[in-house]
Amino acid sequence: MIVARDLHKIYGRGLSATHALKGVNLAVESGEFVAVMGRSGSGKSTLLHLLGLLDMPTSGEIYIEDTDVLKLAEEKKSKFRLERLGYVFQEYSLLGELTVLENVYLPALSSITHHADYKERATKILDIVGLGERLGHYPSEVSGGEQQRVAIARALVNEPGILFADEPTASLDVKSAGVVLELFRKLNKDLGQTIVMVTHEPEDEQYVDRVIWLKDGFGVGCQ
């Protein structure tokens, strides 16, 4: 379960300061597939960065599975991200020097608890996302939609409790976007994967259990 309380995020100082989040509260239950929606500049990505431990809030609290994650030291935070969170970025998040398979098994290679059979597990997950035939290809040799599916496979390789996705379909064509969203729904329904996804596409609502709306840095409701 994810609980965020009174999250504030201010970028910059003085007159140039931007108040991106202005006291957001939210709770996401385990096994939920939640979309965070709102206009551009509403603070969706900022919220996801804070929940995904990629950035620090100016104030507020975040609990993930009862752990006060903001109080973790940098090294432990990194380990927490590795072992318990998965993160899918908007685009260009694969490492160009690694093959599809290597990109996916890299987090497992780094993990103490998920190191065993890392290649087999990465291969299996790539099969699940439909890229079992593309293991030896480099990111530049696969399509944008396939790259996103590789990124999803990478996010799942250490079997994290929560998967964060920051506008994962923003740079994809309609067909590829549909494949990615279907995959998320399948993971959520079949494996009970908790997913928090930022999106600005209204049609994505059909795939999720619930939508959290943000407006100008405020949480304005759920649907």
């Binding site: 950035d55 090294e75 991200r81 590795l82 694969l94 780094s110 103490i112 250490n158």
Partner: protein, 420 residues
């Protein structure tokens, strides 16, 4: 747990470094290894040439002036007494290749003195050291006999003949200015010596030698010991010597030889040749400091080049580094991958540099040594130089790899992903 975490980080660091080298720009590793190898060769070469100069000077000092061990009179004496019996006793010590006693004096040497207009004119003259030797015994101890460039070496019975060092004789082969020599004495010419006790003798120049040991050997004249004894006084000097030179057999430890010589009751100071070589060594030491500075600059340049290349690589990979951190790869593993790359470049640089020194430069200088005024100088590669250069290069590379990666790690993940 900490060990397992470390192994995990190491595994990722090695994996990322390997992939970066294999899939990255092929010219980067080639350039860096070349820079590292050149720096290594630069440091080794400069030090080894200086070591070669020192080694040549040391060898010449041993071969032409001092041998391995020098026995000199006790502090309150001018001469060593009972030399003949001491020589016999010394020869019985195992490991001795030869013993030669020297009877030294200084003499005013004149050439073409009959052409002087007035007896007080300087003419072609000067004061040099004259050494009385047993020629055959001396040949077992020093190599003067093999450095004769004109005429021949002394024979045991010679009385009115003299062998001159080239810096006394002068001429084209001498390094000194003509006015500091006799101005070009030839074999067969006559020279006149006025010894310190006032006795004057004329000698025919039997040979001229050039040992390339300009400080002492080439400024020395040799007569037979028999002749010197007759000059200084047969009664008193028959059994005396100014010093006894002892040559050790190949591979014999000089210190153990000195210990053995010290316990036979000899009334004299027993010293290694090294104790006489201080002045030149201090000059060489100064050169070594300069060489170290040049080497340090070379290392610094190599480190800076590596720093710049890795810094550019890190800057260009900010986005990827941000992604790595976002997916939970530890900072240590990411920094470790850059350290590993730097270390690999340095190690390969050292290996290729060493191969170049060992199989190109060293054989070249053995075949074509530098013909310097002090003699033929080759590279003397010392293990200490190789060790310190290797450590210096690897240390520089580690710093050059660590600093840029550490600098980027201090940045926030989101900023890194955005490439800010």
């Amino acid at each position: 747990m900490a060990v397992r975490a470390f192994i995990g980080d190491l595994r990722v660091a090695l994996f990322l470094a390997f992939k970066s080298i294999v899939k990255g720009n092929r010219w980067v590793p080639i350039l860096l290894v070349l820079v590292m190898a050149s720096s290594f060769v630069n440091v080794i070469f400069t030090s080894s040439i200086l070591a070669g100069v020192m080694s040549t000077m040391d060898k010449q000092l041993v071969d032409t002036v001092l041998a391995n061990v020098v026995i000199s009179p006790e502090e309150d004496e001018y001469y060593i007494n009972h030399v003949n019996s001491w020589e016999d006793r010394i020869r019985q010590i195992p490991g001795i290749a030869g013993v030669s006693s020297h009877l030294n004096d200084s003499a005013f040497i004149e050439y073409q003195w009959k052409e002087k207009e007035r007896p007080t004119d300087k003419g072609k003259s000067g004061t040099w050291q004259v050494v009385g030797i047993e020629p055959q015994q001396e040949a077992d101890v020093t190599t003067i006999h093999s450095h004769i460039i004109e005429g021949s070496y002394l024979d045991d019975g010679d009385r009115d003949e003299i062998v001159l060092g080239v810096e006394i004789a002068g001429g084209d082969s001498a390094q000194s200015a003509p006015f500091l020599t006799l101005g070009g004495v030839k074999v067969g010419d006559k020279v006149r010596l006025t010894y310190s006790n006032g006795i004057q003798r004329e000698y025919t120049v039997k040979g001229i030698f050039r040992a390339r040991e300009m400080e002492q050997a080439d400024r020395t004249a040799f007569v037979t010991r028999q002749e010197m004894v007759s000059v200084l006084g047969r009664q008193v000097f028959f059994d005396r010597a100014s010093q006894i030179l002892v040559r050790a057999k190949e591979g014999v430890n000089e210190n153990s030889l000195i210990r053995q010589l010290s316990i036979i009751g000899l009334k004299g100071k027993v010293r290694s040749w090294r104790e006489y070589s201080g002045a030149m060594h201090s000059v060489i030491f100064t050169f070594r400091i300069i060489a170290s500075l040049i080497g340090s600059i070379g290392l610094a340049v190599a480190a800076i080049v590596m720093f710049i290349v890795i810094y550019i690589a890190v800057i260009n990979k900010k986005h990827e580094i941000g992604i790595l951190r976002a997916i939970g790869i530890q900072r240590g593993a990411i920094i470790g991958s850059y350290l590993t790359q730097a270390l690999l470049y340095a190690v390969f640089g050292v290996v290729f540099g060493w191969l170049a020194v060992r199989f190109l430069l060293q054989p070249y200088f053995v075949r074509y040594p530098l013909d310097l005024p002090i003699g033929l100088v080759s590279l003397t590669v010392q293990p200490l130089t190789v060790g310190s250069s290797t450590l210096g290069l690897i240390g520089s590379a580690i710093l050059a790899g660590f600093i840029p990666a550490w600098f980027i790690m201090k940045q926030g993940i989101i900023k890194a992903i955005w490439g800010e």
